[in-house]
C-alpha cells in the first residue's frame, strides 16, 4: 500500500542529490543560468541596445557584467542607473525575464531598481 509513497520519497531523495551536485557545480558552466538570473533580479527594466551604443558605453568606461561573457554567443550586459541609462537613445524594451527576445540580444542595458544605483552589485560569480 505504501509503494507510491516510497517511490515519491525516492524521487525526493534523488532531487536532493541533484541539488547538491548543482551546488558543487555552481562555479562552472552549470551555474551560469543562476548568475544570469541573479543579474536580472537587479534590473527594473531591460533594453536591447545596438552594438554602436554598446561600444560607446565601453568607451565611456562602463564595464559589461562578466556573466555575459559566459554565454555563447557572448553578450554585453550593462547595468546602469535610470538617469545614466538615458544616454542610450536607440533601445528597445524587453520584459525582464528569460524570454527569447532578451536571450537573443547581443547587447543589453539593464536599468537598476530605484535606490540600487549607488550600491555595487555583489560579485555573484561564485554564489
Amino acid at each position: 500500500m505504501t509503494a507510491i509513497l516510497h517511490e515519491r520519497a525516492r524521487r525526493a531523495r534523488e532531487r536532493a542529490l541533484i541539488r547538491a551536485w548543482e551546488y558543487r557545480q555552481r562555479s562552472y558552466s552549470k551555474g551560469v543560468w543562476y548568475r544570469l538570473r541573479r543579474v536580472l533580479v537587479e534590473a527594473a527594466q531591460a533594453w536591447i541596445i545596438d552594438e554602436t551604443d554598446a561600444d560607446r558605453l565601453e568607451t565611456l568606461g562602463r564595464v559589461p557584467h562578466p556573466v555575459g561573457r559566459e554565454l555563447e554567443p557572448p553578450k554585453r550586459i550593462f547595468l546602469l542607473g535610470e538617469e545614466e541609462s538615458s544616454m542610450v537613445r536607440h533601445r528597445e524594451q524587453v520584459p525582464v525575464r528569460l524570454c527569447s527576445r532578451l536571450l537573443n540580444a547581443r547587447s543589453l542595458l539593464l536599468v537598476l531598481h530605484r535606490g540600487a544605483e549607488g550600491a555595487s552589485l555583489p560579485d555573484v560569480l561564485n554564489r
Binding site: M1, T2, I4, L5, H6, R8, A9, A12, R13, R15, A16, R19, A20, E22, Y23, R24, R26, Y34, R37, R38, L40, V41, E42, A44, P95, V96, R97, L98, H113, R114, G115, A116, A119, P122, D123, V124, N126, R127
Partner: protein
C-alpha cells in the same frame, strides 16, 4: 459553488483532525486562507495539505474515523477523496521537526495511515489559528512556509505556482516574518541556501498568471530580500 466555500466545507469535514495538537494546514491554500475573510482568490490547486507531526501520528489516526464526506484513496492511503462535490481532496503529509530524522524525507509506515514525511516541512512551526465561524484553522508561521515554497524542487507549471505562493505569502509578511525568514535561511545547509536564492531569482522573472499574484510590480521587493539574504553569506 465557489472555491472558498468548498475549501472551508472541507476543513469543516476534517475539523476533528484539525483540533489535534500540532496539526497544521499547509501548502498552497495558506495564502488563500490568509486573505481577508479567507477570500481564496488564488487558483492554485483543488486540494488542501494537512501536515501531521509524526509524534502525534497515532492520535491523528484515531480521529480519521470522525471525518465525514471524504474517504481514503485506495491507491494513495494518505490522500482522502471527496464523496461530495462541495468538498476537495485532502492530502495528509508528515512533518518531523523534532525526531532523529528531522529534515529527512521518508515514509512513515503504518497499516492504514502511512505518511510521506517531507524533510522541508521541518522548517514549519505553529502560527496563528484562524477562526471562521465555528471553524478553527491552525496555520504555520509564514516564514517557514515561504522558505519551504522557495525550496520547491518541482519544475514547470507546478514549480512556478509554488514560487507564486511564496510571493503571495511574502506580500503578507511583516518585518518580524522577514527577520524569521532570514534566520531560517541562515540555518539551512549551503546547497539549500543556494537553492532558495535560485528559487527567488526564478520568482523575480516569472510571467504573470491569472488568479495569482504578479511578480512584476514586486521585483524591487524581491531584489531587496535577495540582497538581505546574500549579505548573510560569509563566503559567497
Amino acid at each position: 459553488m465557489d472555491f472558498r466555500t468548498r475549501l472551508l466545507q472541507t476543513l469543516r469535514a476534517i475539523a476533528p483532525v484539525l483540533r489535534e495538537p500540532g496539526i497544521l494546514v499547509v501548502g498552497s491554500e495558506v495564502p488563500n486562507l490568509l486573505e481577508p475573510e479567507a477570500r481564496s482568490s488564488l487558483v492554485v490547486s483543488e486540494d488542501v495539505d494537512i501536515a501531521v507531526p509524526v509524534e502525534n501520528h497515532a492520535a491523528v489516526k484515531a480521529k480519521l474515523r470522525e471525518i465525514r464526506g471524504l474517504e481514503r484513496s485506495g491507491e494513495e492511503p494518505s490522500v482522502w477523496l471527496p464523496l461530495e462535490r462541495d468538498l476537495i481532496e485532502v492530502n495528509f503529509i508528515g512533518m518531523d521537526a523534532r525526531g532523529g530524522r528531522a529534515g529527512e524525507t521518508y515514509v512513515l509506515e503504518d497499516d492504514t495511515f502511512p505518511l510521506l514525511v517531507f524533510g522541508h516541512l521541518s522548517l514549519l512551526s505553529a502560527g496563528k489559528t484562524l477562526t471562521i465561524a465555528d471553524l478553527s484553522i491552525p496555520l504555520p508561521r509564514p516564514a517557514g512556509l515561504i522558505v519551504e515554497k522557495l525550496l520547491t524542487d518541482r519544475s514547470g507549471e507546478k514549480g512556478d505556482r509554488d514560487l507564486l505562493v511564496a510571493l503571495a505569502l511574502l506580500l503578507l509578511a511583516d518585518a518580524e516574518d522577514l527577520g524569521e525568514l532570514e534566520s531560517l535561511y541562515v540555518g539551512l545547509a549551503p546547497d539549500l541556501r543556494y537553492s532558495l536564492r535560485s528559487g527567488l531569482s526564478m520568482l523575480s522573472l516569472l510571467e504573470p498568471r491569472s488568479h495569482m499574484p504578479d511578480p512584476t510590480p514586486h521585483r524591487a521587493l524581491i531584489a531587496r530580500l535577495f540582497a538581505r539574504l546574500e549579505a548573510t553569506e560569509k563566503d559567497p
